[in-house]
């Protein structure tokens, strides 16, 4: 095989290899869908985040508009401090919007659902979402249910 032919074949090999890497990154992986463009961060405090993890989606009306970027504990008042990164183009969320930790399906992954409020001013970089609803912890739920049952029987 001539020198030029070898060079062309090698060039083809390297090109397809790189193409495979790109396919891995954007089609198999989530590099494309996760780079949401510019975004801003708001903070929400929860009593209990259940199994929420970093990178979990943040949704509005079921549509993903951002993700959880950081989870920490607030030592002052023993609550979970969750940072939500939201796409910049969704810039009209009222300041009194509420956040809830929800579960997709019965045993699915946890995500944060936003419910818009009614105020005129909007959430900005660093704003705090005050109205939050914690994750539903199954053990607590069952415990409460049993307690109510017992209560009901006594009456």
């Amino acid at each position: 095989m001539g020198n030029r032919a070898v060079e062309i074949v090698v060039g083809l090999f390297v090109a397809t290899g790189l193409a495979a890497l790109v396919v891995l990154a954007f089609r198999v992986g989530n590099l494309g869908s996760q780079s949401d463009g510019p975004n801003y961060t708001v903070i929400a405090y929860f009593d209990n985040i259940g199994g929420l993890t970093v990178k979990a989606p943040v949704t509005l009306a079921g549509v993903r508009i951002g993700r959880v970027t950081n989870i920490d504990i607030d030592k002052e008042n023993y609550r979970a401090r969750v940072e939500l990164s939201i796409q910049k183009r969704i810039d009209n969320l009222p300041i009194d919007s509420s956040a809830a930790i929800l579960t997709s399906g019965l045993l699915g992954a946890k995500y944060v659902g936003l419910e818009p409020g009614a105020e005129d001013s909007n959430l900005k970089q660093g704003s705090e979402i005050t109205l939050t609803q914690s994750a539903i912890v199954l053990e607590n739920l069952i415990g409460q249910f049993l307690y109510n049952q017992a209560d009901g029987k006594k009456k």
Binding site: N3, V6, E7, V9, V10, F13, V14, T16, G17, L18, A20, L21, V23, L24, A25, R27, V28, G29, N30, L31, S33, Q34, K55
Partner: protein, 257 residues
Amino acid sequence: MLASLGARLLSFLHRMGCAFVFFLNSLRALLSVFGHFSLLIKQLYAVGVLTLLIILVSGLFVGMVLGFQGYNTLVDFGAESSLGLMVALSLTRELGPVLAALLFAGRAGSALTAEIGLMKATEQLAAMEMMAVDPFEQVIAPRLLAGIIAMPLLAALFTVMGVYGGYLVGVLQLGVDSGVFLSSMQHGVDFYDDIVTGVIKSGVFGVTITWIAVYEGYDAVPTSEGVAKATTRTVVSASLAILGLDYLLTAMMFGGA
């Protein structure tokens, strides 16, 4: 008994030491490769292009098998919608880098050892030295660099073919919805956690395999028997090194999570 064990340990350490010095020498010679790219191109052809076919075919079949097995397991839990995720994660994290590396060791690694061993046995390396050409620059470094470049590309191709194979079986044959397959995959596979780690793995494997292969060739006893033994040793030690390193790398990169 104890003495022979000690002697074995010493000779093992001696070989490791020699291999390390050899590696440093090759690294020093790597710079010279940028002087003559044609050597690198030739070696990329030998270790990359010639390994391509076996990588593509194996990747496709491994992916198809994963599709079948994954479906049969997942369908019991009603979770066949996660098939894409399962296939893609197995391939990007483990099977892609590891299987591609094992194939690479068998196809390209053995060929490298045999070629260099033969060059030694026919005094070609000595002849280069006498022509004032450093065999490290002329022979070793281009092969090492070609292996390091080719391995991640081959692993990526293996993985893509595997995902495609899983897609073929899952979607076209077993009737998983194509959108569900793709979205569960894209949703669950993380660029940094899964793909970058896979590429890092295959890069480490590439360095290890080519290092072992060229060293075994360079160190071979210069007879036909010596070259044959060195070739076998390359495949055995490279395969062991891949699996051992895979455990270490997995523990390092996923251990905390």
